[in-house]
Assembly symmetry: C2
Amino acid sequence: MSKQGWGQGSGDQPPNQRAAKRRAVLEAGARLFNDQGYEQTSLEEIAAALSITKRTIYYYVDSKEDILFGCHQLGLEFLGETMQQAQDETLPVLDRVQLLIRGYCAWVSGDLGATIAMVREHSLSPERQAELRESKGRVDHQLRALIAQGIEEGVLRPCDPRLVTAAIFGALNWIPHWNRVASPVPQEEIAEQYLSLMMQGLMPDSQQA
Amino acid sequence: MSKQGWGQGSGDQPPNQRAAKRRAVLEAGARLFNDQGYEQTSLEEIAAALSITKRTIYYYVDSKEDILFGCHQLGLEFLGETMQQAQDETLPVLDRVQLLIRGYCAWVSGDLGATIAMVREHSLSPERQAELRESKGRVDHQLRALIAQGIEEGVLRPCDPRLVTAAIFGALNWIPHWNRVASPVPQEEIAEQYLSLMMQGLMPDSQQA
DNA sequence: CGGTAATTACACTCATGAGTTACATCATTC
DNA sequence: GAATGATGTAACTCATGAGTGTAATTACCG
């Protein structure tokens, strides 16, 4: 019946306990949403997963939708780091593409990242849907731009960057749909296989690695 | 207020009206499920889409779950035709792979096919979930086997058929997630781009088409 | 025309789950 | 040891939507 002890992932002191616990709620929510779907998950279940009361959850979030949106926000925050790295213009384009794909693969393999691939947007308010689409659009756009640049530079073969990007993110987004099992394929292994498929699929006939 | 006229896609005569109308219900359901999600779609909405009463829907199906499952069954029936074609052992392996991918792309671009990619399984009974997974497994297995064979024959480079298959179906399954818009990219165009990406990604350095 | 199949109208039951109310309790810290 | 923050208890409201019951109505077929 101990009352504390469900919120600290890193050793934060009391002032940040609140944030840590809110985050614990989001992560528990993400896990359940991914496993059972958003609509099929009740707040009682999230509470139970944390050995907490529904009432307590409302002490940290305003609504169920809040949890879902929080998952997305927090998740996209993490993805931001990967996007930053791939932004580095001193690196060769191909490296940047690989960086982005590898990072996205790792990201979508986690609970928060997977939420974007597993939960449809319909459950959010229109404004929040729009905000999300905005963010997703930025990631999409970054890969598209990289591929377009690669084509210009001649290190990638001519193709439609929009469709190729869709194919790549499709493959990546689908990972949590089949790999959330008892003994999942290690995320790094997936990344390697996907990368060799996609990189070779993108390069011109000349310069095969 | 005319009472007929919502069920005939092909010119079937009265004896098959029942089947045709049941199918109309399934297809209307599929469309709405794909657009708004299964849980977010009420039977009243499906009825409204057909200018029908909820009560009438229950004249053709037993439950909401029945509709969803019916979509899957009917959809998989269509996919079966594609799978048959790709079964033809007199064809070169690469052709069979292409046949399968092209067919799947067309299939997943339709309402019934898209349902598998858009609606999570949780809403079905465990038995039906199992049955579905069975069917999906067969498709998956077919592509895996083809790729494995291609590797053996040396027309494909060595790789993990399981992961490559996951990547390909992931890319394809994601199509309805972004292409269900006012003016979608023609399904054939997608297939071409995806095929050149994947085929080139799969072939050994030697024999580039 | 008469009978049967299809469809409507519509009121109803029932379960579920989000979010709330009001209060009690424990913990912490000054 | 009182004030404040955090959590529990438990009953409650409320909307939604699946599925049903029943009787009336319309279309169709022989």
